[in-house]
């Protein structure tokens, strides 16, 4: 099986897993779920690290570094603000 096909399998199965896991979220948690998921989309940081790590050409370095900065903002900010929100959700 070709590499691309394996990647496609992973993509489809992970999407289905995502659907199953999230399908019943109470409205109370819509915002934290969204900002938490948003932080996870900062996974692009892995890609940015990979391209920057071995970057020789100037433009690769510039784009990769920009990618790292943006993705880190997304990851760190996203997880922190989600935690800040969830801290407030309490039952009394």
């Amino acid at each position: 099986m070709g590499e691309l096909l394996i990647l496609l399998y992973i993509f489809v199965l992970a999407t289905l897993a995502g659907r199953e896991v999230i399908s019943k979220v109470p409205p109370t948690l819509h915002t934290p779920l969204m900002s938490g998921a948003n932080a996870i989309s900062g996974i692009a940081i892995i890609g940015a690290l990979m391209v920057t790590a071995a970057a020789g050409q100037l433009w690769v370095k510039v784009l990769g570094t920009a990618g790292i900065v943006m993705a880190t903002i997304n990851v760190v900010g996203g997880f922190m603000v989600t935690d800040r929100m969830l801290q407030m959700f309490r039952k009394r």
């Binding site: 992973i10 409205p27 900002s35 996870i40 989309s41 784009l63 903002i73 900010g77």
Partner: protein
């Protein structure tokens, strides 16, 4: 692909992401779910750093430190009312990062993707396209939410035709970048050779995608923002997943597609809550036709009350249902509202909150604001639960909500026909706290304001709520 240990750590990280998201979907476990997802991210980052021979540690670490400081400060000091804007910005950065990575891969491959092979070429094009659309679209969404860009739908003649042509252009340019045969066919048209077009065409792709992102979001009105924000969230996940295809990296694909799925589910929920299809939200430019309805406003008599009268009605009620809307967020009146509710509860009044799924500017916006004001989440009832209660509710207090309580939704001829609403008019008395009689984002008049059992309590929600605290205390 990387070595076995790295792969196994990525697998552990993937499991933590899935279970983290699962925990995020229940209030009691949500916080640990978020912690688990952050741990997954940390693991993936550390193992990636260790696995690669890093030529420029200084650059990498400095970039990460800069991002962490900016993100951390934003997360720590942002007002809860500004949460939709913040989510939009973070989202844009996620999409931007994916596009930047794809572009870097393109440059690294010698700036000519036909030499990459079709599969890599296609994925680079897709990830650049989706990432760039997410980036510029999210920034426009941020602008609209922040009030920098007008919240009204922006339309111009032949908009759809123009968008369609632009999209065709990106497809054509993308296909030429991805496949050498297309490149050879298209290149002579612009007077170049098959390999020469790569650089200029790639730039064209980036610019066209950025413009496309802007054009997709500007025609969407303020009230539809919950849909747009969750859709863009989905895009940022898909962009990350396509970047995973470019780099042959499993964890990018898994995490990215989880986010893509989450965003799509939320988008569907939001569309359902407005009884509109996604296509209708994206291309409807909702709210433009409403300008004519404005003329009717103010011609019919309303009953208005002051803080003292409103306080009396509330204080001597048996049960009160509060319906918060975006006006509450704008006025930042959630803490004062909580004080009023506490005072009422001290007097033995049952207080509950009815939250419409699309109240506010992002999914669950009102829940966050009320949580910030320390309202227990089990007092927040969703649409179906609170609708079953209005019959037996003495007083409904509406704070800055409009379209979600407009009975016109039951009229098949109305522009908001069929939208699920809160049936507040079934309660004995309705108090509407609002600045004026002006229509909401749907642009239509609200019959609720003119009903016999409705009392209008005009003014800024925060000022009026402060007054109300004083009056309820004395009542």
């Amino acid at each position: 692909m990387e070595n076995t240990i790295t792969q196994i750590v990525y697998l552990i990280s993937a499991v933590l992401f899935v279970s983290g998201i699962k925990l995020l979907s229940s209030p009691a476990t949500a916080r640990s779910g978020n912690a688990r997802a952050s741990l997954a991210m940390l693991l993936a980052i550390v193992v990636t750093l260790l696995d690669h021979e890093i030529l420029n540690w200084t650059t990498v670490l400095a970039a990460m430190a800069a991002g962490a400081v900016i993100g951390g400060l934003l997360a720590r000091y942002i007002e809860m009312t500004a949460m939709p804007q913040l989510v939009a910005v973070f989202n844009g950065f996620g999409g931007g990062a994916s596009a930047a990575v794809a572009a870097a891969e393109f440059v690294r491959a010698g700036g000519s993707s036909p030499s990459l092979g079709v599969d890599v070429g296609v994925t680079i094009v897709l990830s650049t396209l989706i990432g760039a659309v997410t980036f510029s679209g999210s920034l426009i969404a941020f602008g609209k939410l922040q009030g920098v860009v007008t919240g009204k739908p922006v339309t111009f003649p032949l908009q759809k035709t123009f968008n369609g042509l632009l999209f065709l252009l990106t497809l054509l340019v993308g296909a030429s970048l991805a496949h050498v045969a297309v490149a050879d066919a298209v290149a002579p048209l612009v007077g170049m050779g098959g390999l020469e077009i790569s650089g200029p065409f790639f730039l064209t792709l980036v610019v066209a995608a950025l413009i496309l992102g802007v054009l997709l979001v500007i025609p969407i009105g303020g009230a539809d923002m919950p849909v747009v924000v969750s859709l863009l969230n989905s895009y940022s996940g898909i962009a990350a997943a396509t970047t995973g295809f470019v780099l042959n990296n499993y964890i990018l694909i898994i995490a990215g597609s989880l986010v893509g799925a989450a965003g799509l589910i939320l988008t569907q929920l939001m569309c359902k809550a407005m009884n509109r299809s996604l296509g209708n939200v994206a291309f409807g430019a909702f709210g433009t036709e409403g300008q004519t309805a404005k003329a009717k406003t103010g011609e019919r008599p309303v009953r208005d009350v002051d803080a003292e009268q409103a306080a009396m009605v509330l204080a001597y009620a048996g049960s009160v249902a509060v319906v918060p809307g975006y006006g509450l967020a704008v006025a930042q009146a959630q803490h004062e509202l909580k004080k009023v509710c506490d005072l009422l509860e001290d007097r033995g009044v049952t207080v509950r909150f009815g939250v419409h799924p699309v109240a506010g500017r992002m999914p669950g916006h009102m829940n966050v604001l009320l949580a910030e004001a320390d309202v227990s989440y089990d007092k927040l009832l969703d649409l179906d639960d609170i609708n079953a209660e209005f019959d037996s509710t003495d007083v409904v207090l509406i704070v800055g909500a409009n379209d979600v309580v407009n009975p016109a939704a039951r009229d098949p001829d109305s522009v908001i026909a069929g939208m699920p609403i809160l049936d507040v008019d079934k309660a004995r008395t309705v108090i509407v706290m609002k600045r004026s009689l002006s229509p909401g984002f749907a642009g239509i008049d609200n019959d609720l304001f003119y009903m016999d059992n409705t009392l209008m309590f005009f003014g800024d929600a925060r000022d009026q709520m402060t007054e109300l605290v004083k009056e309820v205390r004395e009542a």
